[in-house]
């Protein structure tokens, strides 16, 4: 699995690093699409139960085309079509969303350590999910339980509060946002700790949420997350010019004709919405949103026009393979796998980066 990522990412081939940006972008896009497709096939073909490859193919063909080629039993059909296919699609959606959100936050906040959770989103979502698990009220709306809904609410509320509070500080806008985000996140984390302290038997579920997982993937969850991630990411990608401008600083952006007062909250809101959708369906998966945009920027340069879509592609790739490894090895949190396969790769890229790398 790792070799697939490494080859297409271009670490092994020094000439790629020296090649001109446009060629590199071409290869990153083409390679990303191929590796993602391979990952999707592998993700549907492998799991904790072995299903013959022929069965997997016929089941997927049957479901897509309405044919009746498959002779597999109902359980196998459900394993492939109701468990694996939505799981792979959800992993890709979340990976793409987190990478886009990370790239957006890093650019907007001009901070290399920014990730999708930087403005308190994660703490808000986690607290919401924990409260949802503690309330003994069981219902499902469209495949989402109370904890999912409260996670979404928590994420959206926390980012709104952070943004509102940051606007009334006397600090420079970026500093104010980062520090307010940190303060609110700390407060929410205290609430989460208290919720875990009081949770008793629900503790394991809260812990699972904090680690992130696609174990709960379903068609409903995919259908719930996809529109938000897709539409918001596309809007962010079309605002690449604003992101590029804001990367130079507010004044420079204004001089370039970017309406800073309108664009910044819009982009922040969209990235937060994507993050909220992702944490709602999969819990808190770290690392993807922080590192994938950096890897892409190291390889292509800082132009958001390229960074946003390529990050989405490789975020999807990273999570689909990480989830596959987590599933096949069994019982490893997917966030651990993303860090294990992503961190060394990132370190290698950092070592090889010749010129001073900046956002």
């Amino acid at each position: 699995m790792t070799s697939g990522v490494a080859t297409a990412g271009g670490t092994g081939a020094r000439p790629w690093l020296a090649a001109r940006g446009r060629d590199r972008r071409f290869w990153l896009v083409l390679g990303g699409i191929l590796v993602a497709l391979a990952g999707a096939v592998l993700g549907v073909a492998f799991g904790s139960v072995s299903v013959p490859f022929g069965d997997t193919v016929t089941i997927v063909v049957d479901k897509l085309l309405g044919t009746h080629l498959s002779t597999a039993d109902a359980a196998t059909q459900a394993i492939v079509w109701d468990l694996r296919v939505p799981r792979v699609l959800l992993a890709m959606t979340v990976g793409a969303g987190l990478a886009v959100a990370g790239a957006t936050f890093q650019g907007l906040l001009r901070n290399p350590l920014a990730d999708p959770y930087v403005l308190g989103t994660a703490s808000g979502a986690a607290l919401g999910a924990a409260i949802g698990l503690l309330i003994p009220l069981h219902f499902f709306v469209f495949g989402f339980g109370l904890s999912n809904l409260l996670a979404f609410v928590g994420a959206v509320v926390s980012i709104t509060v952070v943004y509102r509070l940051a606007r009334v500080t006397g600090l420079a806008p970026l500093t104010g946002l980062l520090l307010t985000g940190y303060a609110v996140a700390s407060l929410l984390a205290a609430g989460l700790t208290m919720a875990m302290y009081l949770s008793g038997a629900a503790l394991r579920q809260i812990f699972n949420y904090l680690l992130g997982s696609f174990e709960q993937a379903s068609w409903e969850r995919f259908a719930g997350a996809l529109p938000i991630v897709l539409i918001a990411s596309i809007i962010i990608a079309t605002r690449a010019r604003s992101l590029n401008g804001l990367l130079l600083g507010e004044q420079a952006a204004a001089h370039l004709g970017v309406n800073v007062e309108r664009e910044r909250p819009l982009l922040l809101g969209l990235a937060s919405l994507v993050t909220a959708a992702a944490v709602t369906v999969s819990g808190l998966i770290g690392f993807v949103g922080l590192v994938v945009p950096h890897i892409v920027r190291l390889l292509t340069g800082p132009n958001a026009r390229a960074v946003i879509p390529i990050s989405a592609l490789w975020g999807a790739v990273l999570l689909v393979y990480a989830d596959l490894i987590a599933r096949v090895v069994g019982d490893i949190p997917v966030g651990v796998v993303t860090a294990i396969i992503g961190a060394p790769f990132f370190l290698i890229l950092l070592r090889r980066a010749r010129t001073g790398y900046e956002l």
Binding site: S48, A75, I79, F140, E215
Partner: protein
């Protein structure tokens, strides 16, 4: 005692032996008492209870006298540690809810001065006993100071990480005997009842209780042994099933089912894929999940259990708590697995304060 006697009849050899022990202990006819401690009784009795000896009537109190003769006693606990108890304990701390139940069933509930927090509190009389151990943020927190302040002379702790190992060492270093209890299987639960009985000077009562439990187990097993053995998924948590050879898996087997296990003796997780592949006939939700929610999980409609409406919620505490009520758990489980079979119901072990 009278209520127990009918249940004791028609049991196997072990039950009969215990019956003899029980009758012997209660009627206090020294000749009929087959206790191994019968021989040293005359020599140790005066030294063990010097203050009560002069005032005691010629025929000594039925249970106190043989029990006093047993001490000091050295017992091997479930971790293989030799634990010496100098005199009959009067201030007992139970760090396991199951042991608390056993102590109350043995009739020494009034000597329990501290207990582990029990959110499914049983017996109700135990609510008066203060909690010396709390489930604290995912970890077990034992208040050793309270154990010392209560002048405990016996602590019953949970093995297999039930009570933290360093806590057990700390209490032992303070000179308080700690009996570590861990039952890996049903027989272990029976022998633990006896072990606790010996530790508190109620060996005969413990024999009677374990014999009753064994009899109740045998009755349930006999009722279901010739029936079908449906595949049972016992959901401990979403994505968690009993491990191979685990206590819960043994209970399901004894209740006449074939447990769907995790496929490992140490890992309790069962992926949704493996569950669908296993295709259980019966699903028992022991984790508080609602039937209506669980059956909506992806792919579940393909399973026989869901198609035949054999999904039910079940109370995990009576099934998984390794205490004197365990047979009631087996009866519950057997009734859920074999709704068409009449499961014999043994009368509960009364909790004597």
């Amino acid at each position: 005692m009278d209520a127990r006697l009918p249940a004791l009849r028609a049991r196997r050899a072990v039950a009969t032996l215990a019956f003899a022990v029980l009758v012997g202990a209660c009627t206090s006819t020294p000749a009929a008492t087959p206790l191994p401690s019968a021989t040293p009784l005359p020599s140790t009795a005066p030294t063990a209870v010097p203050s009560t000896a002069p005032t005691a009537p010629p025929t000594p109190a039925p249970t106190a006298s043989p029990a006093a003769a047993v001490f000091p006693v050295t017992l091997t606990d479930d971790e293989g540690t030799a634990v010496t108890i100098a005199a009959q304990p009067t201030k007992i701390v139970s760090l396991m809810p199951a042991a608390t139940e056993t102590l109350f069933a043995l009739g020494v509930g009034d000597q329990v001065v501290g207990k582990a927090q029990d959110i499914f509190l049983y017996p109700p009389q135990a609510s008066a006993v203060p909690d010396f151990e709390k489930f604290d943020n995912g970890a077990v927190a034992v208040d050793v100071e309270k154990i010392v302040a209560a002048k405990a002379d016996l602590v019953i702790a949970g093995g297999n990480y039930g009570t933290p190992a360093d806590t057990i060492k700390k209490i032992r270093d303070l000179g308080i005997p700690v009996l570590v209890i861990y039952a890996p299987n049903v027989n272990g639960v029976l022998s633990d009842v006896n072990l606790i009985g010996k530790a508190v000077g109620k060996a005969a009562e413990a024999q009677a209780i374990s014999a009753r439990m064994q009899g109740a187990f045998a009755a349930v097993e006999a009722a279901v042994q010739n029936g079908a053995k449906p595949k049972v998924y016992y959901e401990i948590g979403e994505g968690y099933a009993p491990a191979d050879d685990s206590f819960t898996a043994e209970m399901i087997t004894d209740a006449g089912g074939t447990p769907v296990t995790s496929g490992s003796t140490t890992d309790w997780s069962l992926s949704a894929e493996k569950l669908l592949k296993a295709n259980p006939d019966i699903i028992l939700l022991a984790d508080g999940s609602a039937v209506a929610d669980a059956t909506k999980r992806p792919g579940w409609t393909t399973m026989t259990a869901v198609k035949s409406n054999a999904v039910a919620v079940i109370d995990d505490t009576t099934i998984s708590r390794p205490g004197p009520r365990l047979f009631a758990g087996l009866e519950l489980l057997a009734a859920a697995i074999h709704p068409d079979v009449t499961i014999p119901q043994a009368s509960p072990v009364p909790a004597v304060p």
